[in-house]
Symmetry: C2
Subunit: 229 residues, 2 copies
């Protein structure tokens, strides 16, 4: 088994020549296959190569997902440590969402959830994640938080970033959930869900505003909990 | 295809007689198989039946995961609506964690993530989820929040509950992440991650305290954001 950490062939050489496999060309092809159709033999078909040649680069589907998790982590924008902590957290969350909306890899969703850990990616030391954490600590210490508080806040923000569906929701993402809810209540006996009946007289929340609001709840909660403006 | 909503055979009759399949006995057997080994034929082996007989109950792995998501949702403790909103949210989160720690189903983890939606479970109308949401709205309206705010808070809390790794983390859950971090920094050049070096002189956070702290950040954030005590 051969493990590649970097591409061995310059990127330009892969264009139009799918048999010149690189780690990157495989990952990019993998990203275009729908998760429910994904297999190593399907991927080999798409690339026009044999399954055997893929195994040289990636011995398992998991190793492909890990590579995608790496790529995702490396491309997430780095935040300016000159910002005050509130703006720093806000940028961290909003830029992650914006980035993800343009660079989502359906096949890697669970891998990203599993693979990007709070301190490591896919169980391995990650310069990019250590750098992010180090920057984060320096911003919070500078702005008056203690070390213990800073760790708690890092875990809180990471937990929010890693698992949230909201990141991937489109601007109209609440509309279908809201109309499902209306249908469910229409099927219920009148008065069975009286608070919901009242609620449904208000308009469906708009997803971008909702996302911003949740981000602000998080930031205000940090401020209130630790008594730091 | 036959769809069973309730068990058709009393629970007692299944003991020691694995060929007397019920939806529940299948779900319980499925919960004991490790996710990486899971398949319908493996499940049939464990139950001592043919794959064909399983298809009468569950036509796909997805349908088994959905059934587990249903079962999980139904067993999550219902919270007393007499509590003030802060205690209500806190109980909702802490009881969910406590329940999950005793009733986790490894095979269904992603199904639970995918399947328990903010208003529905596995895409279907769910009395239990409508009841929870209706209760939640009534508590928050009673305590002075507006309808719009209540929806935002419901999405915030659901988002936290659905995706958090922290729910499943054991009391010592941070220890291995912390020692990985120490190893990663030991491998780095001195001064490369100077804030992390300072941080690692503090003890590893304790998971239960950390979880409580994040819950409190959420609650304080709601209070601060909406100006409601």
């Amino acid at each position: 088994m051969r493990l590649l950490v970097e591409d061995e062939i310059p990127e330009g050489e892969t264009r139009g020549r799918p048999r010149q496999l690189t780690k990157r060309s495989i990952v990019q092809a993998a990203a275009r296959i729908r998760p429910e159709e994904f297999s190593l033999s399907k991927l080999a078909d798409v690339l026009g190569v044999s399954s055997q040649s893929l195994y040289h680069y990636f011995p398992s589907i998991k190793s492909i997902k890990d590579a995608i998790a790496d790529e995702i982590a490396q491309k997430i924008p780095m935040i300016d440590t000159g910002l005050p902590w509130r703006a720093y957290v806000s940028e961290m969350i909003l830029q992650y969402r914006s980035w993800l909306n343009q660079n989502d890899y359906p096949i890697a969703r669970n891998a990203v959830y599993d693979g990007i850990a709070i301190f490591r990616i896919a169980g391995r030391r990650s310069e990019i994640l250590l750098r992010r954490f180090d920057n984060f600590i320096s911003v919070f210490l500078r702005d008056g938080f203690t070390l213990d508080q800073t760790v708690e806040i890092w875990i809180t923000v990471q937990n929010f970033l890693r698992r949230s569906d909201l990141h991937r929701a489109e601007a109209t993402g609440m509309a279908s959930a809201w109309s499902d809810l209306q249908a469910d209540i229409a099927e219920s006996e009148e008065g069975q869900y009286s608070a919901l009946e009242v609620l449904l007289e208000t308009p469906c929340p708009e997803m971008n505003a909702l996302y911003l609001q949740i981000t602000n709840i998080l930031i205000d909660g940090i401020s209130a909990r630790y008594g730091v403006d």
